[in-house]
Amino acid sequence: MSALLEVRGVTKSFGGLTAVSDVSFDVEAGSVVGLIGPNGAGKTTTFNLITGNYRADRGTIRFEDRAIDRMRTHKIVQAGIARTFQNVRLFQQLSAVENVLAGRHCRTKSGALGALLRPPWQVREEREAAARAVEELAFVGLSGHAMELAKNLAYGDQRRLEIARALAADPRLVILDEPAGGMNEQETEELIGLIGRIRKRGITILLIEHDMSLVMRACEHIVVLEYGEKIAEGPPASIQANPRVIEAYLGTEEV
């Protein structure tokens, strides 16, 4: 039985800089996996390779036993991987519910002609998409904010709205890029609860996070990158005790 997501020997360079070098790891179905490392370690680049925003120079990425490393981003979403962004990327001038509906896009069909003629199936599809969007808003705790413009939401709410948009796409794997970034302690606490609830829905989670207490509590498997290379991998306890990881985060003591 192969893993849900298999990253194998992935390398990506920008000009002379090798951002990700020969990185391999697995994400098992149903798990919460953390990708950590100091700034510039290549975490977000790795995410962008998985989601098709970048093309790997070498290596393969397989999702549910399908090669996805040559697929375009929207196709990868359709295949079942949804994401959030490090610097929240919402549709600022649109309402919260419209933002979530973006996630429904790849699961619905009606086109321009359907919009002009409005056949009954199109009306039904719209209604079902709206119901689902409202449901996802409630799921992340934004019930009352459906009609608010994304730009008017508090920062923590914007992060949760992004998660709702990702969940609306019926993903099997959700990739969260620093979900707790800019959140206060209480919001982070709620986020850990939310991650648990997402997992209960049977959705696998891969996340980048700098908040170590969140990573250690929420993740059962951690992959550590430094200078684009994987330096360690394992359950939280072993990562915390790993001398190379400690060295990467704290630096070596000069003797």
């Binding site: 979403v77 962004f85 649109l94 973006a102 086109g111 321009a112 002009l116 709206a130």
Partner: protein
């Protein structure tokens, strides 16, 4: 709030329809012709709004698609004696195909880059027409002798007859475009405008929607070209120059990018105001220019930026209730 906006909009449209319907009673032929111009520009501005306002693609060569439609009709009418209104779908299809073809290699360009490319496109089309491409376009003189349209056996030739033809087309267009913006398709265009990376990352095929925006906008501009050719009976390249594209761009931005009522108002003002100020002779364009500058400083979002919430509160409530 949303409900009130919708009501106000319905009242606005009802007043506009009443005004247009009764216009022949109190306006002379000259002003009826101005109204016909307004109608054509409203159509063009609305078609550009799909591309520029809804999808956020900076297109300053929209007159090219208008020209393709007008010339399609002119050629079909003068060479093959095809009745004018039958050429409407042909103009739409030819303009849409043309747009798809030329936009495909450049449509991924962002903002200002796309703007420059589309300016080039508009000029190429104009120059091609002047140089009589394929011996079909009649060069700088254009094509004359385009037949008058016939509706249910009635030959349309006088200004007030054109008024009803053009504005009926406007009414249908407004209805359809409102439906379009309140749909999955319309939302996809908005996602594209707001953040293409997030749109693609949410599962929207952004490349496809960029092309669809161009194709649909061009199709409508093409059909407007048909109406224009029918009204003028003579068309020539000078009607489809760079200035035309600039004016259309202006109407959309001035009225309220992405807002259908805003764009209608923008088109109306840009056509009517210079007529009203005709008394000032050459100073009128100066005044007009100043008004534009002040507008953009004071109200950069456009005159009627209020947008009909694509998704209304009632939709959300109904969705919540059906769970």
């Amino acid at each position: 709030m949303a409900a009130r906006t919708t009501t106000r909009l319905a009242i606005g449209y009802a007043l506009a329809v009443a005004f247009i319907a009764a216009a022949p009673l109190f306006l002379d032929a000259y002003w009826l012709d101005v109204l016909n111009s307004v109608g054509l520009y409203v159509l063009l501005a609305l078609s550009l709004n799909l591309i520029l306002g809804d999808a956020g693609l900076f297109n300053m060569g929209h007159a090219a698609f208008y020209a393709v439609g007008a010339y399609t009709t002119a050629i079909l009418s003068t060479r093959f004696q095809i009745p004018i209104l039958w050429t409407l779908p042909a103009s739409a299809v030819v303009a849409a195909l043309f747009a798809t073809l030329v936009a495909r290699p450049v449509v991924h360009l962002r903002g200002d880059y796309l703007l420059v490319v589309t300016i080039g496109l508009g000029e190429i089309v104009r120059i091609a027409l002047v140089n009589d491409v394929f011996g079909l376009t009649g060069g700088a003189n254009g094509i004359f002798g385009i037949a008058r349209p016939t509706v249910f056996g009635l030959k349309i030739r006088r200004p007030h007859e054109f008024l009803y033809l053009i504005w009926a087309f406007v009414a249908v267009t407004v209805l359809l475009f409102h439906r379009l913006e309140q749909s999955r398709f319309g939302r996809a265009l908005n996602y594209l405008r707001e953040d293409p990376v997030a749109a693609e990352g949410s599962g929207v095929n952004t490349a496809r929607y960029r092309l669809l925006a161009f194709a649909l906008g061009a199709a409508w501009a093409g059909m407007t070209g048909t109406l224009y050719a029918a009204k003028m009976t003579i068309i020539s390249p000078e009607s489809f120059g760079f200035w035309e594209s600039v004016v259309l761009f202006l109407m959309v931005i001035l009225g309220g990018s992405g807002s259908i009522p805003g764009v209608i108002l923008g088109a109306t003002l840009v056509v009517v105001l210079p007529e009203v100020f005709r008394g000032f002779a050459s100073a009128r364009m100066l005044v007009f220019g100043l008004v534009m500058m002040v507008m953009m400083v004071v109200r950069p979002q456009g005159l009627l930026a209020f947008r009909i919430l694509r998704f209304k509160e009632s939709d959300v409530r109904r969705a919540g209730a059906s769970q």
